[in-house]
Symmetry: C2
Subunit: 338 residues, 2 copies
DNA sequence: GTGAAAGCGCTAACAA
DNA sequence: TTGTTAGCGCTTTCAC
């Protein structure tokens, strides 16, 4: 009876000789239930192999127990680390993580809307969602923006501009490079845009001009390879390449040497993020360490905190801007400690 | 009234002057509703900004409208492609995709169980979940195993052994290499295990012995770098390195040249998967093209098909073994067309 | 401390 | 063709 499916609260209640309310209380560790009753119910749960239905409690609580994460893509160690950070916090709270990669979908806006309907809160990577849509969604459920800026939202980021300024200055001052070029598509990536701005800041401060426009193919490893081939074909290699992230730098690193260009002898290279591979490639990669995992976990904490107290109609989160620290990591690819 | 929250079927029904059943029918494009009624209801939906609650319909349907994907990790382009494949099919069906990376979690088994409770079906990458647990879960909901083998389950995979045999034979026969070594951690990865077996097949057929044990650091780019450094340190470089996947090969490619080892002059290298970067790195990477995206989409189709007809108690899927074709891609890193 | 009962939003017989 | 009604599984007042 009661179907052949999984046992429900009712089954447990009957088996334990209590009411469904009591079963529910035990599930939630409600301290009012007596030790004896409690044990009896727990035993019945064991005996029947009962697990609360996510569907049932979801409806009653009006909560999906799911966190949405919106990223441009899913590939790449950067996003993996971000997701892990978010997931570690979410798992703790019994919340699942639902990831959406927008750059791969023509119907990204639609998809974000869909996601918003099935989650209790959203973590959004800067540049993936138009600002107005973001604002609209933030009125409906808690949203935290990662690696982006927005006056009315909660944001978690690093100061990429300052970091890029510092790293670029290092290339100029410590290694005497004067012809520097930026690699990375700035469009649609606030993070990259900030880094490029910092790059330009440093050049301006040193009285230098960019050695050519940024090479804007994309932000993944393969685009680094593409950039390397393009630069090589142009035959006008700069002294140093400032890559928007480590992935791009690896793409360059897996290509230029094969084309007969030695690093850092012929060209110096720096990246951003300090991915694991950075310390292992040869030459080891000079970069800026970013707390990517923390970015994700912090964002998740903020969203979940808002989620939990979401009882009434829902009030948007008060704006906040958390800036996490970065740290330059000087290795071989810039010419240091060769 | 009716709370300040989102409008419900009841609100729409009242507004349109029909019953909730009719509203539900319109939502599901039930052809029985008259054009007039239909239009009136649609208008009311528009007016009120109604969207069906995932929670409500979920409970009624007893369906989560979510597909689970279990992978070892989330980084890496291989998994990104797999997820995209699955997601493209899922999105079509209005189903969300929930990804779980097991290698990063100490409580992987627990996590898989949790996931099973919130999804309608699971796609599992071979090697991520113990066989017995897999069997147990498959009795509860549709499960498709990707890149793995299992007698009682639906599996979608490629014939990695044959592919590896062919590629290895190429190194031996076309390029005359005799001292070959395998790079990649076979433990816990059926895919890698199969490729290693194929590698050995080819060597045996040629009457050759492996030039040393496999270098088993892992399966990601950084472990390729690690392997490269180890091999270089050992000072006994083989003629050719057969990497378990392209990621590892890239790690090697971003490291060996920097250590003064030219590819393919000093060492030939081949990978598996044919990631985008393979055609762009220098030297371009010889590899085996795998339909990773199709692996994901096929798996998703199979799971969803089973999901849809899951009406009664649920019968496990009948075992099936789909083998998708692969294709060797000969490029520069093996010594071809240099 | 425990139980009865009224929902949460939607679907699906069954009636009309 | 449309409406009525009884759930789906769980939570949560409000009585007892």
């Amino acid at each position: 009876m009661a179907g052949t499916g999984r046992p429900t609260v009712r089954d447990v209640a009957r088996h334990a000789g209590v009411s469904v309310a009591t079963v529910s209380r035990v599930t939630h560790d409600d301290p009012v239930v007596t030790g004896g009753t409690r044990d009896r119910v727990l035993a019945s749960m064991q005996a029947l192999g009962y697990t609360p239905s996510v569907l049932g409690s979801g409806l009653a609580y009006q909560r999906h127990h799911t966190l949405g994460v919106v990223l441009p893509g899913l590939g790449g160690p950067y996003f993996a680390a971000l997701i892990q950070g978010a997931e570690s916090v979410a798992a703790e709270a019994g919340v699942a993580v639902n990831v959406l990669g927008t750059h791969l979908r023509h119907d990204a806006v639609q998809a974000v809307h869909q996601l918003a309907l099935r989650t209790d809160g959203l973590i959004v990577q800067g540049g993936t969602v138009p600002d107005d849509l973001l604002g609209a969604i933030a009125e409906k459920l808690p949203v935290v923006l990662v690696a982006g800026e927005h006056p009315d939202l909660v944001t978690v980021r690093t100061d990429g501009r300052a970091a890029a300024r510092g790293l670029t200055a290092h290339l100029v001052e410590a290694h005497g490079h004067r012809r520097l070029r930026f690699v990375g598509a700035t469009h649609g990536s606030p993070d990259t845009t900030a880094r490029y701005a910092g790059f330009r800041d440093a050049l301006a401060a040193a009285g230098l001009a960019e050695h050519g426009e940024p090479v804007r193919h994309g932000l993944e490893a393969r685009y680094g390879a593409m950039a390397a081939r393009q630069l090589h074909a142009e035959g006008d290699l700069p002294d140093a390449l400032v890559c928007a992230n480590d992935e791009l730098a690896f793409g360059v690193l897996a290509t230029l040497p094969g084309l007969g260009v030695a690093i850092p002898r012929d060209v110096a290279i720096v990246g951003f993020d300090d991915l694991d591979l950075a310390a292992l490639a040869s030459p080891t990669l000079t970069t800026v360490h970013q707390p990517v995992h923390d970015l994700g976990s912090t964002a998740a904490e903020l969203v979940l905190a808002a989620t939990r107290r979401s009882r009434e109609p829902f009030a948007p989160l008060p704006p906040d801007d958390r800036v996490l620290p970065t740290r330059p990591v000087l290795r071989e690819s810039c010419g240091c400690s060769t």
